[in-house]
């Protein structure tokens, strides 16, 4: 009595000599080579960064530090300017006040009344209705 494994492997036992052509030394060499290639890649990246640091940053470190300080100052100023443009708490509270809002609304209505006739008259006046000297001019004086 045999297990299926024994039967299947037994059928191919004769091929073992041919399979011997695959050498462990060759496989080990391939594994070493690929491991080495992987290491080389990481060390290459490291050396590129190291070279950049030593040749571009270190000799001009004061200049880089100065530039960095300037950029930080610019950034800080930018932030401060943004803060000053924002409405303060008092201003925000005033806009929410109903009295202030109603006063603003009244002023707006008044302005509309004052400007309204001019705008409608200007729109109603046809262009090239006659010589300029004959055109009637209206002048509103706002006190």
């Amino acid at each position: 009595m045999k297990t299926p494994r024994e039967i299947i492997l037994g059928r191919h036992r004769s091929a073992e000599t041919k399979l011997g052509a695959i050498g462990p030394d060759k496989l080990a060499a391939i594994a070493r080579e690929s491991a080495h290639a992987g290491e080389n890649f990481s060390t290459r990246i490291g050396s590129v960064f190291d070279g950049f640091w030593r040749e571009c940053i270190l000799p001009w470190r004061r200049a880089w530090a100065g530039l960095a300080a300037v950029w930080i100052a610019i950034f800080a100023l930018h932030l401060a300017a943004r803060e000053s443009l924002r409405p303060t708490g008092g201003e925000l509270a005033a806009t929410k006040n109903p009295q202030v809002l109603s006063a603003l609304r009244e002023q707006k209505q008044l302005l509309a009344q004052l400007l309204g006739p001019t705008a409608s008259a200007a729109a109603a006046t046809p262009k090239n209705s006659g010589p300029r000297s004959e055109q009637r001019r209206e002048l509103f004086i706002i006190m």
Binding site: M1, K2, T3, P4, R5, I7, I8, L9, R11, H12, R13, A15, E16, K18, L19, A21, I22, P24, D25, K26, L27, A28, A29, I30, A31, R32, S34, A35, G38
Partner: protein
């Protein structure tokens, strides 16, 4: 044999004791142990799928070379066996694409099936039934044969077989079920 050489000898009889880390480091003894352990099962698996001696030999050789080249990417050393068989399986698919493209897509419907109950080592076949067993195995569709071979030859779990063949777990279960049905008659005769 010197003591250092004795110490260096690697035994690869159990799956858990495979010298994968040493092989990764490029140790020739480790590769010798892995070759001794997997060369024949891998060849048997590949041959039973492609049914061509030279193609099977080439695929096994290429699989080992690929494994040596990419062993650095294998994260779990315990999965070396299924990883190696997966490489070989992919190469079989490439071979079918070249030779018999109609044999690739064989996928019966997934069903909710019970697990394959008896273990591959529990099935015993009488000597006079060996030829019949192999004939039945050859008659199975490629996808079923692949699952059954992985199950019989390496005792892979369903999850491992799914990983090797790139199939869903349910599909693997289903394939095992159908393959088992095909063998049922033979095993029943054996038991009686």
């Amino acid at each position: 044999m010197p003591h250092s050489t004795l110490m260096k000898m690697v035994v690869a009889s159990e799956r858990e004791q495979l010298p994968v880390a040493a092989a990764r480091a490029g140790d020739a003894d480790a590769w010798a142990a892995l070759l001794a352990r997997f060369r024949l099962p891998l060849y048997a698996y590949v041959f039973e799928l492609v049914h061509h001696e030279q193609a099977a030999l080439d695929i096994v050789q290429e699989s080992f070379i690929n494994a040596a080249r990419h062993i650095g990417t294998l994260r779990d050393d315990d999965k070396f066996a299924s990883w190696l068989f997966n490489i070989a399986h992919q190469k079989c698919i490439q071979h079918w694409r070249r030779v018999r493209p109609q044999e690739i897509a064989i996928d019966p419907q997934d069903e909710d099936l019970p697990d394959f109950e008896p273990g591959p080592r529990d099935l015993l076949i009488r000597k006079e039934q060996e030829a019949e067993f192999m004939r039945l195995l050859d008659q199975l569709a490629v996808a079923h044969r692949a699952v059954l071979l992985l199950y019989f030859v390496e005792d892979f779990s369903l999850e491992e077989i799914a990983r090797i063949t790139g199939a869903q777990l349910g599909t693997v279960k289903s394939r095992l079920h159908y393959a088992r049905k095909a063998f049922k008659k033979l095993f029943e005769e054996n038991e009686s």
